[in-house]
Amino acid sequence: SQQGEEDPQALSIQEGENATMNCSYKTSINNLQWYRQNSGRGLVHLILIRSNEREKHSGRLRVTLDTSKKSSSLLITASRAADTASYFCATLRGANNLFFGTGTRLTVIP
């Protein structure tokens, strides 16, 4: 069973708009990570936020974490067509078990 669930399952926006994806999880975590997967490719790590952090930035990415609600959000600002991909949250339980959600499929329309 998944540890994380993303919402929405699919999102379509115009280039230049912001995209927000949400992730909910069920148990205590050490950290939460976001990955991107382009069609037919492997996953690429985007950003990691630790359980004692509330917000983190990396370029056009902003991640928040609310451990009381067991939820996280990924914001991509000023989206580009190249951001079209599936985005997954993953939670680390223990030292090695990384549990992935089912992903949000983002389409950015030029």
Partner: protein, 112 residues
Amino acid sequence: DAGITQSPRYKITETGRQVTLMCHQTWSHSYMFWYRQDLGHGLRLIYYSAAADITDKGEVPDGYVVSRSKTENFPLTLESATRSQTSVYFCASRQEGRETQYFGPGTRLLVL
């Protein structure tokens, strides 16, 4: 620098056959992982390895066997393939003490 590679990229096999998926990484990462990706399930961990000759089960290990005789290689074997093992398989690796995993391009396996 090749990074992490998987072979074959595509494989069609029949029920009951043995098939081995290969994973090779050039970073000397101590940890390696095998995941399967299915619609509606995201990625699920099959097996992982902390070092050569050290392996452990993940979330969905049944029907799979792994070995790790060399740090750089982590083959995944389906001893008797079943249709339910039709999936996309991803290998990943990470450094000791780091939390980011690096993924290979995947192997698409179809079991007829």
